[in-house]
């Protein structure tokens, strides 16, 4: 009798895990890609809320939403609801969006995806990072989720020199990728990751994009 205790323990853990997995799978927001293998369904072009969820890591796969009304290149920048992180979204005139989320210390994510006709966007990044937002009235509002960070955000139209900057280079054998968000008030937040290890970034000169990382001078380019 007592000897079956360990088996019951294992079974209880297994059952608990299965329950939680099924809860995850069912309570997931309409994300059809939650189960990994599901192909991105080509959504009807006029479906109101952007339902064409591109599969992670292949954001360009969705065939829809490319031939939309041209929207000029534009940057939007702002902060998350708790003020802890900054968000910048660069919209290109071909309907693609690149976003960068960063807390200036350790958490960052680059995200990509399409912008729908209605201004809705659902961007994805590495390690499950997500950004869902809507462009309306000159600003993007939405929610961003990455590891250790789930926050609503508002990003306003950012005119140069404010906006999103990126630098990528090889510095002393390390792959260095830097991202900076220059907010409309002139403040900037950035992270430099060396071989994937993030840390606070030195400030850039927004006028020229010049920045010195580990003694090497780089140029951060504005996006788009």
């Amino acid at each position: 009798m007592q000897r079956s205790g360990p088996l019951h323990t294992l079974l209880a853990g297994l059952v608990l895990a299965l329950i939680m997995l099924s809860l995850n799978a069912t309570t997931e927001p309409p994300a059809a890609d939650a189960k990994g293998g599901a192909p991105p369904s080509p959504a009807a072009p006029s479906a109101p809320p952007s339902s064409a969820a591109p599969a992670p890591r292949s954001p360009a796969a969705s065939p829809t939403a490319t031939a939309t009304a041209p929207r000029p290149d534009a940057d939007y920048a702002g902060r998350t609801g708790d003020g802890a992180a900054s968000v910048a979204i660069a919209l290109r005139d071909d309907g693609k969006a690149v976003a960068y989320v960063c807390d200036g210390r350790a958490k960052e994510a680059w995200l990509r995806g399409d912008v729908g006709d209605d201004g809705g966007m659902r961007l994805t990044g590495d390690r499950g990072a997500r950004l869902e937002g809507t462009l309306e009235g000159g600003r993007v509002t939405g929610e961003v989720r990455l590891t250790g960070l789930e926050q609503p955000f508002t990003a306003r139209r950012a005119v140069k020199p404010s906006g999103l900057y990126r630098a990528a280079a090889s510095v002393r054998g390390a792959r260095v990728v830097g991202g900076w968000i220059v907010l409309p008030n002139g403040k900037q937040v950035g992270i430099v990751s060396r071989d994937g290890e993030p840390s606070a970034a030195p400030a850039i000169d927004p006028a020229t994009g010049a920045v010195t990382v580990d003694g090497t001078r780089l140029t951060a380019r504005p996006i788009p």
Partner: protein, 196 residues
């Protein structure tokens, strides 16, 4: 069944002396442990991380929930170590009270069950990752922890194990959990802050 102890031995080939710990006794738990660890790692690697999973009310983020669950599991794991030391008579001057075994079993169960939701979230939302040494060790040991725990549970069902086997396996489970906690919950509390 009555057997005359003085009866002459038969000419049947004598049954081989029962090898006390038969190979299967170790093989099955070892294979099960390997299967669990590899399956978890493979799932985490192959499955596209969902990035999110449902959160508990009252917590600011899933990271906070997981950190607190892991911390609670680690606290129960400390109870495990203490009760095991007492049971094995390793604490001078302390005779194991009769309830030590129950305490050990139930604290272990609670610790394990607390760790399961954390692992489910890790594997479902984040997956097996290798992008930094902290993350790599966490991923590796996460799989190792559940494999070793499975082995220990299966070994417990057998009588007459080598004296040191359970303490060694239990020690491995505890060490794995400790490193898991250091590379996740402690890291979270230090980088994000002690939040709920």
């Amino acid at each position: 069944m009555n057997v005359d102890p003085n009866a002459a031995t038969t000419s049947f080939p004598a049954p081989p002396p029962r090898p006390t710990p038969r190979a299967a006794v170790f093989l099955v738990p070892a294979l099960a442990a390997a299967a669990v660890a590899v399956a978890l790692g493979a799932y985490g690697r192959v499955h596209d991380p969902a990035g999110t999973a449902f959160n508990l009310a009252g917590f600011s983020s899933t990271g906070a929930v997981k950190s607190w669950l892991a911390t609670a599991a680690f606290a129960f794991a400390l109870v495990q170590i203490a009760s095991a030391l007492v049971m094995y008579g390793k604490v001078p001057g302390v005779r194991a009270p009769s309830w030590t075994g129950g305490l050990h079993r139930w604290s272990g169960r609670v610790a394990f069950l607390l760790s399961v939701p954390v692992a489910v979230h890790c594997l479902y939302a984040l997956g097996y990752q290798t992008y930094s040494s902290r993350v790599l060790w966490h991923s590796l040991l996460g799989c190792f922890f559940f494999g070793t725990f499975t082995a220990k549970m299966l070994l417990l069902r057998t009588e007459r194990l080598p004296d040191r086997l359970l303490p060694v396996i239990g020690g491995l489970v505890f060490t794995a959990l400790t490193v898991l906690w250091l590379t996740s919950a402690l890291w979270f509390f230090r980088t994000v802050g002690v939040t709920t």
